[in-house]
Assembly symmetry: C2
Homo-oligomer: 186 residues x 2
């Protein structure tokens, strides 16, 4: 098919930063965990993006995981630019601040990561921004026995080929477990 | 909760490389698209991993997207090391080669990306390996009208908090579309 950015699943993340002192958020599907200890995350953002300007100003950003209830707001944040529209107002986001005082977080999102920039890598059309996760917040009602519960978080998936958002489906297997069934073939 | 590598969804990818001339594959959930033009992908791999040795030898690797039918094999490749076990044999992978002659691909996986290493970034416990996607293969039976079809590919999701694999659920919205409903609030 020629070289294509085709993997499944892709996340749907709301990346936040203060731009000229005001909170702004954009939707990002190109990103993932980049390191374990210390915890780091990467997001690919075009250099001309308004949010990118804010990330460079404060050398920090947030990653907010929206729930399915917020699919409209999440999609909207990927369509319009914060240079023209106050997305926080339109989306009625309740913004709060955590450990890093210049990193806006969205209260309605069940998970929020506060990140400090450690690398910005120019790769071509995008910059890969790598952040050290300094703090993680999770909405208390999304926990079961103190652990994050997918059925309460209700995260969703972006697919590029069909430009659609999907909910999570059923559990198909336990990780680090079902593979053990192949042990007898060794 | 303190800094945690907590996002949803995470992919479940089989990363392949030739190690000492033999194909090997490992499971990776920490990765994502890193650039658009040229297309690039990143995967986070611990330096001591057997597959990492192969990636350094050939400066190239593959990313294979497994389908739900392969959850057992995929999980297995994340449990055992290729330094001790021939995973290709145990998993009965049919290995093929594409444009890059030293990058093994798994025929049973509906999607295969061939990648050339452009950056290796030591970040702590892991190295973030960034590859330029040189070629993409998709199983013909996973296309509908020439486009990748999620219902045929049947990709799956890894969640770290509960260590489970999830299938894709229902479509919840059209991207770059449902967000337009908020336009009247601007």
């Amino acid at each position: 098919m020629g070289p294509q950015t085709l993997i499944y699943p892709m996340p749907t993340l709301l990346v936040g930063a203060e731009v000229d002192g005001k909170p702004n958020f954009m939707t990002a599907a190109w990103g993932g965990i980049a390191n374990g200890r210390p915890p780091m995350i990467s997001v690919a953002i075009q250099p001309h993006r308004y949010t990118n300007k804010g990330i460079r100003q404060s050398r920090a950003f947030s990653v907010n995981v929206p729930s399915s209830d917020m699919v409209r707001e999440t999609d909207y944040c990927g369509i319009v630019s914060g240079s023209k529209i106050n997305k926080v107002e339109v989306c009625r986001f309740n913004v709060f601040y955590g450990k890093l005082k210049n990193v806006p977080l969205i209260e309605q999102c069940p998970i929020n990561l506060e990140c400090e920039v450690v690398h910005i890598l120019g790769l071509g059309s995008h910059e890969l921004i790598i952040g050290r996760i300094e703090e993680t917040h999770i909405t208390e009602s999304c926990l079961t026995d103190g652990k994050p519960d997918v059925t309460k978080i209700k995260p969703f998936i972006y697919t590029m080929s069909s430009s659609q958002y999907y909910a999570f489906g059923e559990v198909i297997a336990k990780a680090f477990s079902i593979g053990l069934e192949l042990k007898d073939r060794e």
